[in-house]
Amino acid sequence: MASIVAIALIALVSLSAALSGEEVMQEVYTRDSGNNMSANLVMTLTNSRGSTRERSIQQYRQNDSDGEKKIMFFLAPSDVKNTSFLSYSYADGRSDDQWIYLPALNRVKRVASDKKNDSFMGSDFTYDDMGTRHPSADTHKVIRTETIDGRKCLVVESIPKEAKPTYAKTLAWVVENEWIGLKKEFYLPNGKVGKKLEIDSYEKTDGVWVITDMTMSNLDKNSSTRIQMLDVTFNNDLKDSVFTERQMKIGPRI
C-alpha cells in the first residue's frame, strides 16, 4: 500500500515538475494550426430515434496577430444553401464580431455574439466547441496520464471560471508533445457525463496536426453529431478579401 502511495506521489511530483494544467492548455491553444486553413465539413446529426440529417459547409480560417477570421458557406441542405457566416475573434479577449448573410434577405446582418453555449446548426457541438476556447476561461489541472492508441496523454481537468457554466468541468486527453486533444468529457453539475467528444481520425497535413473525424455524443439527449473534415489544406494563399461582406454574398468561389 505504501509503495502504491509512493508511486502515485512520484507520478504526481513528476507531472507537476513537467507541466502544469495551465501550461498544457496553453500549449494546446498555441499549437501550430497554420496561418490559414480551408476544409469541407460534413456534419451528420443523429437524433435519439436514430434518424440522421446531414449538413455540408465549406470553411476558411485565417489567423494573424489580431486574432482569427473565419468564414463558412453552407452548401446543404437546400433550405440553408448559400447562407454564409463570418466571424472575427480577437486575441485581446474582446467579444467576437459575427455576421450572417441570408440569401432570402439578400443582406449581410450583424448578429449578437453571445452564442458560445448555443448549439451550432442544431448539432451537439456548441459555437464554443467549434472554436478555440481561451485557456484563461478555465482553471486547469493535470490529474493523471493515460494511453490512447499507443499515445501518452495527459488528462487535464478544466473548471470554468464563469458564474453559471453549462458544464461543471471537462476532462481532456491531450497527447503529450503533440498537444492535440484525443478525447473530451463534459461533466454536468450532478457529476454525470453530459457530452463526450471522441476523435476517430487525425493526421498531419501540411505539417499541422488536424482532427479529420470526430463525434460528439450528447448522453443526456441520446443524440450525436459526427464531423468529417475533408480536403483540409493549410497555409494557402488566401487574400484578406475572402473574409469580407463581398465574399459572403458571392459564396465559396475563392
Partner: protein, 414 residues
C-alpha cells in the same frame, strides 16, 4: 382560355431556356422551392387563400461572371395563374469591383420589416406584408456597380425605367377600402411616368464594413413607389393618380454594444409629393410637396437560447395639415411603431417557434404573428401560424381586422 395558353407558352419557354442554359453553361446549379399555403380567415370562416408557389433559381458561373434567373409561378383557387421572373441578372467580377446588370432585387438598410432607406426596389404588397421577405421585394431592371476600396464600398445604381409597388388585386382580401371621398369613387389606374432617360432613377451609397461598426450613407433621386391622388373630377368623383419625384438621403449603422447589436437607420425624403384632399363641398385634390423623416432604433440580443429583437420606428411629416392623405388614408404628422421578435429552436433545430409583432401606438393597433415550423426532413418543412390584426380600425394593421387568419404551409426545397 387564350390567356392561359399564352401563360403556358411563357412557362414552357422558361423551362426550355433553363434546360438549354443547363446544357451550355460552364457551371450550372438549379434550386427551388415548392410551397402550398392555406389560410383560414376567422371573420368569414372561409379558406380565403389556397395558393401554390413554385420558385425556381438557376445559377450559372463563369470564370469571372455569374448569372441568376429566378422565375416564379403562383397559382390558387381564387386568383389567376401568375408567372413572373423575379430576378434575371448577370454579374461581372473585376479585381476591385462588381457590376450587376439585369432585373435584380436591391435591399438597403438595417431595418427588419420596415422600409426607411430601403427604397431602391419597390415592394410586392399583394399579400400586404405577410409574404416571405424574399417575395416582398420586387426585382427591378437596373445596372449596379460596386467598387471596393479597403473596408469601403461605393455603390451606384441606375434604374432606367420606373417600376411601382404592386398593390392587391380586386379579388384580393388585402385590397383596402379607402376613406371618404374615395370610398364611392371611380379610381383610374395610376398614370405611369414615360419610360425615358429623364424619368430614370438613380441611387448611390457609401458603406463601411468593420469590426467596430458597419455604416452606410445613401441617397437617391426616385419616384414615389405608391401612387398619390392628383385630381378628383366630380360629380361622382373620378380619381386620377400618379407617381412623383423626390430626393432621399439617409444613413444606417450597426454595432455591438456588449453582447447586443444596436441598429440605427434614418432617412429624409425631400419635397415628397402627397395628395391634399378637400372633401366638401366638392371633393378636390392638389399635390403638395413636404419633407418627411423616418428613423429606426433596433436592438438584437440572445437570452436563454432565444434570439430577441426589438425596434422603434419613428415618422414625421413637415408642415403637416389635416388634408394630407396617403394611400386613401389620412397622413399622420407623427407615427410611432414598435416591433418585437423572439424565436427559439428545439430538437436540434427541427422545430422553430417564432413570434413577430408590429405595434402602432396612435391609434393603438397591432399585427401579431406567432408561428411554428417543423423540419420533417432536410429541405421539407411544415409550418403553421396565426396572423392576428388587432386594435383600432383606422390603424395600419387594425384596418385589416377582418383578415385575421390561421395558416399552414408545406415547403419543399430542392
Amino acid at each position: 382560355m387564350r390567356q392561359t395558353k399564352s401563360k403556358l407558352l411563357v412557362l414552357t419557354s422558361i423551362i426550355l431556356t433553363i434546360a438549354t442554359l443547363s446544357l451550355s453553361a460552364k457551371s450550372i446549379e438549379f434550386n427551388g422551392m415548392l410551397r402550398d399555403y392555406l389560410a383560414y380567415t376567422f371573420e368569414d370562416s372561409t379558406f380565403a387563400v389556397h395558393e401554390q408557389t413554385l420558385d425556381l433559381t438557376l445559377t450559372g458561373w463563369g470564370d469571372n461572371t455569374h448569372m441568376v434567373i429566378n422565375p416564379t409561378i403562383y397559382m390558387g383557387d381564387n386568383q389567376d395563374l401568375q408567372l413572373g421572373i423575379r430576378e434575371a441578372y448577370i454579374d461581372f467580377y473585376l479585381e476591385n469591383a462588381d457590376i450587376r446588370v439585369g432585373k435584380q432585387a436591391i435591399i438597403w438598410g438595417e431595418a427588419e420589416g420596415a422600409f426607411i432607406t430601403d427604397l431602391v426596389s419597390p415592394r410586392d404588397m399583394r399579400s400586404f406584408i405577410l409574404a416571405d421577405f424574399k417575395e416582398i421585394r420586387k426585382g427591378v431592371p437596373a445596372i449596379k456597380i460596386d467598387y471596393y476600396k479597403d473596408a469601403f464600398t461605393f455603390e451606384g445604381i441606375w434604374l432606367p425605367k420606373f417600376i411601382p409597388t404592386s398593390m392587391p388585386g380586386n379579388k384580393s382580401i388585402w385590397r383596402k377600402d379607402m376613406n371618404p371621398p374615395f370610398d364611392t369613387a371611380t379610381i383610374n389606374i395610376p398614370t405611369m411616368p414615360d419610360a425615358n432617360l429623364e424619368n430614370s432613377e438613380v441611387f448611390g451609397k457609401v458603406s463601411h464594413f468593420g469590426s467596430k461598426a458597419n455604416w452606410a450613407l445613401m441617397g437617391g433621386y426616385a419616384f414615389t413607389d405608391e401612387p398619390y391622388v392628383w385630381k378628383i373630377t366630380p360629380p361622382v368623383p373620378t380619381i386620377d393618380q400618379e407617381y412623383g419625384r423626390y430626393i432621399m438621403g439617409g444613413g444606417s449603422l450597426s454595432t455591438n454594444v456588449g453582447q447586443t447589436v444596436l441598429r440605427l437607420e434614418a432617412a429624409a425624403y425631400f419635397d415628397k409629393p402627397f395628395a391634399a384632399v378637400t372633401k366638401a363641398p366638392v371633393p378636390s385634390a392638389t399635390v403638395e410637396k413636404h419633407h418627411q423623416l423616418q428613423g429606426l432604433t433596433g436592438l438584437d440580443w440572445d437570452l436563454w437560447g432565444m434570439q430577441m429583437s426589438t425596434q422603434y420606428i419613428f415618422g414625421y411629416v413637415h408642415d403637416h395639415h389635416d388634408k394630407l392623405m396617403e394611400q386613401g388614408k389620412a397622413l399622420k404628422e407623427f407615427s410611432h411603431t414598435f416591433t418585437f421578435r423572439v424565436q427559439k429552436t428545439f430538437f436540434s433545430d427541427q422545430l422553430a417557434a417564432k413570434l413577430f409583432t408590429y405595434v402602432e401606438t396612435d391609434p393603438l393597433n397591432a399585427l401579431i404573428r406567432p408561428s411554428l415550423s417543423w423540419t420533417i426532413e432536410d429541405g421539407v418543412v411544415l409550418e403553421g401560424g396565426l396572423d392576428l390584426f388587432v386594435g383600432d380600425k383606422d390603424g395600419t394593421f387594425g384596418s385589416y381586422k377582418d383578415n385575421s387568419l390561421a395558416w399552414m404551409a408545406m415547403r419543399w426545397y430542392f
